[in-house]
């Protein structure tokens, strides 16, 4: 029997909450999101709190991974955990980030903005958290124009509850 692609085309819905703006976690969100849309699953991605770094034009091309307080991060080429003292040296975050960027490039993982565009082009909807937006409006003068153009709208937690009805939720 040939694959029943259309029969499988499901009414499944997935909602990913992105609460972190680091390189590794925003990538995790996009990898899962991309997998979802390419399986015909309806996808909503809700960015909240630190996750705003991933949708702010000024910040989204400069996402970083921090080696500080990260026991999983080893000294390159060894099984030795990186001490926090070493990790806290100036330039270490930039170094770790550039290494991760290179590794991801080898695996053909697109840079964050391009990845977002790819998932967006595949039909995903991206949403920004109202409370975070209001807070950042007060603290850093954030405006709607500062957000990446693929963001559908700024919505409240209640709006998110409505749009995620019947869906599966992943919190990152």
């Amino acid at each position: 029997m040939p694959p029943k692609f259309e029969d499988e085309a499901t009414d499944r819905k997935l909602c990913i909450i992105v609460s972190k703006g680091t390189m590794e976690w925003s990538t995790a969100a996009m990898v899962l999101g991309n997998a979802a849309v390419s399986e015909g699953i309806e996808l909503h991605v809700f960015f909240t709190f630190w996750g705003f770094d991933a949708i702010m034009n000024k910040r989204m091309d400069k996402l970083k991974i921090s080696p500080v307080a990260n026991p999983s991060m080893k000294v390159p080429g060894t099984e030795v955990g990186m001490s926090n003292l070493l990790a806290a040296l100036p330039g270490m975050t930039a170094f770790a980030s550039s290494m991760m960027n290179k590794e991801m490039e080898k695996l053909q993982v697109p840079p964050h903005r391009e990845f977002m565009q790819m998932v967006h082009d595949a039909g995903a909807k991206f949403w920004a958290c109202r409370l975070t937006f209001d807070m950042m409006e007060n603290t850093v003068g954030l405006t709607k124009d500062d957000l990446w153009e693929g963001v559908e709208d700024i919505i409240s937690a209640n709006d998110f509850m409505e749009l995620s009805e019947g869906g599966q939720i992943i919190f990152i």
Binding site: M1, P2, P3, F5, E6, E8, A9, V31, N34, A35, V37, S38, E39, G40, L107, Q108, V109, P110, F115, Q117, M118, D121, A122, G123
Partner: protein, 105 residues
């Protein structure tokens, strides 16, 4: 291994129905495979993707991912989803007589 009769030709397939022997595929088989999964007509857009997949498989030994098709064959993501609705990675591979891509992106 399971076989299946598509367009009058017997082909070997895996448990999901994807062809297991790329050598059994030819361009005449593609329209018949496409019909099996609800794509009634192969346009130039489809063929561009299918031929890229075949060429790339011949060189790399594995099925290109959506990202690879969009960057290397210059087919925008949106078009891939229009040409092969809902499950573009699986559908394009199926029609090209290849296994589905193993890569995550």
């Amino acid at each position: 291994m399971a076989t299946e009769l598509i367009g009058g030709v017997e082909i070997h397939v895996d448990e999901e129905g994807f062809m297991t022997d790329p050598g059994e595929w030819n361009e005449e088989l593609a329209p018949a495979l496409a019909k099996e999964i609800g794509i009634d007509e192969l346009t130039d857009g489809h063929w561009k993707v299918i031929r890229f997949l075949r060429d790339d498989f011949a060189k790399e030994g594995q099925t290109a991912t959506l990202r690879r098709v969009s960057t290397m064959a210059n087919v925008p993501t949106k078009d891939l989803y229009q040409l092969f609705p809902k499950k573009p990675a699986k559908k394009m591979s199926y029609i090209a007589g290849l296994k589905k891509p193993v890569g995550c992106v």
